[in-house]
């Protein structure tokens, strides 16, 4: 299956390069779930790439496929130039350590029976490394936890925000180059969400990380990302520098997302260029629409959208759009 193009890929400095990534799952009763259908993207050194989309758009499947959890159906994932797909399990273990993942639900991603000191040391220990206490203390302090207070605590004795800090500390213990965050703040209250976003930003600077930040909340993604990749039903719709998201996003789906933000009603955020989806329902990923996958909900759709899949075209500095009608 053809992807949406590779024009937007860059020449050098990539920490992560992904080409023609395809993730498919067998569905009950025959059929195949087309979770991700040929997407390509890269992350350069020190960059944060935001992946934005609704549930079912394949953003989490894409994130997990980067980690080879499970390995993608097809395509290539390279971390610092080293190929991860198709390598043996043992080799993968070594190469993948440079990439760490943070999940949506911080409480359930921690073993409830372990204490913070052991949770944080777990990564290096499973790799057979000795972990000294000073290092654990240093990382806990870096994520804003007081080692003396949380040292012997178990996850249920911590708040959601504190658990997410422990998860970030766990990831940092392995000296990663790339952090993959899958909806890391969507289960948190606004006030805690702001704390964690600030922490991720600080951590990134301090440990010289690159980041893939997967979320459905536009304002959150915009706040933390340098570039934003908008996904819909397993395809890339648009790649846009985050500073230009609100003003220059062109894809009708991105516009629809922008329109739907409830914060648009806060004072000082009025903007009435209304685009309304013709239907609320995401088509089934078992049988995605032909051509442009957004056409069934798109107010601009014409015949060409059904027959021909739009490819990413340049729309400005670092800005690419996959739509036949985007320049209308």
């Amino acid at each position: 299956m053809a992807g949406t193009g590779t024009l937007h890929l860059r020449e050098s400095d990539q920490v992560l390069s992904v080409e023609e990534l395809v993730v498919e799952f067998p569905a009950k009763g025959g059929g195949t779930v087309h979770a991700v259908s040929g997407i390509s993207f890269d992350v350069v050194d020190g960059e944060t790439l935001g992946i934005l989309g609704e549930s079912g758009c394949g953003k989490s499947s894409a994130g997990r496929a980067l980690m080879q959890l499970p390995p993608p159906t097809a395509g290539s994932v390279r971390l610092q130039g080293a190929e991860l797909t198709g390598t043996s399990r043992r080799e993968l273990r070594g190469r993948r350590a440079g990439m760490q993942m943070i999940f949506q639900d911080p409480v359930s991603s921690l073993n409830p029976r372990r204490r913070v000191k052991d949770l944080v040391a777990e990564g290096p220990r499973t790799r057979g490394e000795k972990v000294d206490e000073a290092r654990i203390r240093e990382v806990l302090t870096a994520v804003g936890l007081d080692p003396d207070v949380v040292w012997d605590r178990r996850p249920h004795e911590l708040s959601g925000g504190q658990c997410q800090r422990v998860c970030i500390a766990r990831a940092l213990m392995l000296d990663p180059e790339l952090l993959i965050c899958d909806e890391p703040v969507s289960s948190l209250d606004v006030s805690v969400q702001a704390q964690i976003l600030n922490l991720l930003e600080e951590t990134k600077r301090r440990y010289r990380l690159s980041m893939v930040f997967i979320a459905h909340d536009l304002a959150v993604v915009k706040n933390i990302s340098d570039r934003i990749m908008v996904m819909y039903l397993g395809k890339v719709c648009e790649i846009v520098p985050s500073g230009a998201l609100k003003e220059s996003a062109r894809h009708p789906y991105t516009r629809l997302l922008l329109e739907s933000v409830p914060e648009a009603h806060l004072p000082g955020a009025r903007d009435e260029t209304s685009i309304s989806a013709t239907s609320a329902e995401l088509p089934s990923p078992l049988d995605p629409p032909s051509g442009c996958r957004f056409r069934t909900r798109c107010p601009l759709a014409t015949d060409v959208c059904a027959s021909e899949e739009p490819r990413l075209r340049p729309a400005g500095e670092g800005h690419y759009v996959a739509c036949h009608h985007a320049d209308l």
Partner: protein, 358 residues
Amino acid sequence: MTNAPALLEEQAAASPSGPLLVVDELRTTIHTPRGDLRAVDGVSLTLDRGEMLGIVGESGSGKSVLGRTIMGLHTTGPTTTIQGRVAFDGLDIQQLEPARLRELWGDRIGMVFQDPMTALNPVKKIGVHLTETLRKHRGLSRAEARDRALELLAQVGIPDPRRRIGQFPHEMSGGMRQRVVIAMALANEPDLLIADEPTTALDVTVQRQILDLLDRLQDELGMAVILISHNLGVVAGRADRVAVMYAGRVVETAEAASLFRAPHHPYAEALLDAIPRLELPPHLRLDAIDGAPPNMLRPPPGCRFAPRCRYAQDDCVATMPTLAATPGVPDHRFACFHPVHLDAPEPAAPTADTAGGR
């Protein structure tokens, strides 16, 4: 307490066009093995017919317990003590017999819960969920109830109601299920709808549609709505009035526009500042609220927000501030000794005040 019902009925008789709902010094205390948890700790509010009130606060602020106590789902018993009064159209909810309460629920008071997955019975078809309440409260026949159910499904924007009515909840998406829950709550055109985080489990595009739907139905049916959410953004632009809750108490209440323009309580200000905003440039440091809400088994003395408040002074720890009106704006009330934005100009410069401009 004993003469409360009589007093309320008197009030209702005196002014039939008075507020639909009066909550007076309500306290819901939950007895836990670790001690008494004061989930709602002295909340007073009123709601007019056809008005939408937004209740906003972090998790643990008591907003959901407040909603459930108003509904009569929490009553005084072995695990819970309720003090104060909830008067719904002159009826003292806490004094009503369970049978009378059941007459109110689904008929005059509807409730939409956060999680549409668990609010529906997985082994019953959509049609049964909707016709049950119609047949019970309205005495409609099977066929009449089915017609009305189809009408309701269409009203909440579910395409192809004839097919959907025969489906089970698991055959529908989260957004569709939440529409069904709303249709159930609306079946008998209640006077009051309590929506507790109705869109938290849903995607942004669906969230917008559900909120628009509530907005539209509120206008069409003249319902009063209590919209409970942890996100001020959800409430902005929808609610007529907003009450901000912290640690079981209302710390600020005002007309929505007035509150968003110039929040006076530091907590309300901080909640607004913590929201990432689309119109601001990326990588801007957010104004997070440090710390966590207090343990409601042992709330701190004085102002409960004081330990996290950047403006706190000695008097905040010594005495608890009570809700008082803003000079010149009687509807805008706040409980704080050191309010912010008091000199905010009336209509102008909203962005700088609310968007973390400091």
